[in-house]
């Protein structure tokens, strides 16, 4: 495959925006022949922060970690299914830790040249800029980043793939 994009990775966090991003990734992978990866990160950093802040009990940390592991499998399987329906092979990846750090690590380790993320929340305060993990990842990864927007158009593109 000689195109400009050889490896596409979509970051999936369970939001509708990230599922739309995955659909767009599938469309692009089909069109370019690029390898397609889907990444879910179990945000254990946030869990630790919540225990340290005493918002979570130790038992809750374990319970929510299990929930997140379960979510990871569910969403990655969902993407596998979506990709399979459109004849695209997908390599699913699951990591644990801090979201922005793990996105960057997975981009580097897998030599990804295009990261796709879902539409970001509107910036409504300075704090949003500082703390949005996906936005931090977007700023720090070494590859190009595509933000998937316009859910209806993407759904239509995805639907038209045969």
């Amino acid at each position: 495959m000689d195109g400009p994009v050889k490896k596409i990775m979509v970051y999936v966090d369970g939001t509708e925006e990230s599922i739309t991003a995955a659909q767009y990734g599938i469309c692009l992978a089909r069109a370019t022949g690029a390898e397609f990866y889907a990444l879910y990160i179990v945000n254990t950093r946030a869990l630790s922060d919540l225990v340290n802040a005493k918002i979570f009990l130790q038992a809750e940390e374990e319970e929510y970690k299990n929930d997140l592991e379960h979510d990871a499998d569910r969403y990655l399987n969902h993407i596998k299914q979506m990709a399979r329906e459109k004849g695209v092979a997908v390599k699913t990846l699951k990591s644990s830790g801090s979201v922005n750090v793990e996105i960057k690590n997975n981009v580097n380790e897998n030599e990804i040249d295009l990261l796709i993320i879902g539409e970001l929340s509107k910036i409504r305060s300075r704090r949003d800029e500082l703390y949005n993990e996906t936005e931090r990842a977007m700023r720090s990864v070494n590859c190009s980043v595509l933000i998937a927007k316009d859910e209806e158009r993407i759904w239509s593109l995805y639907n038209q793939l045969v």
């Binding site: 939001t15 945000n43 922060d49 802040a53 918002i55 809750e60 305060s125 703390y131």
Partner: protein, 149 residues
Amino acid sequence: MAIVDLISTSVVRVPLKSKTKTEVIRELVDVLDKADKISDKESVFKAVIARENMGSTGLEKGIAVPHAKTEKVKNLTLAIGVAPDGVDFDALDGEKSKLFFLLLAQPNQSGPHIEALAEIARITRSQSFCRLLVNAATPEEVVELFRED
């Protein structure tokens, strides 16, 4: 999703009328019910109380973050209450709690739920911001503070 996206004047109560922990939870659940954010307020109330019975979410320095997973919300939902005189919420430091963040999520929304709680934890680290919230006189002021910060 950013916390600010969850906040509107309809989910902020300033000042809270309640004088006890149970009343505060009941009042915030009522706020969400009136804002049409939950489908069964009694069930939501019980879920929050059940979590509190495992250990108080009254933190230090006047902050409390009651939370629960429940099927009775469609999306991640937040209510904010301000009690300038403080309410005994069994806080870790024994002080009265003045700022309450009640967060509810569907059981299958653990990712966004955790991120929202983590954002609340970060926000409440700023004592000056919390002071401004406690001194807010109206829900509009609270919403504005989150947008300005």
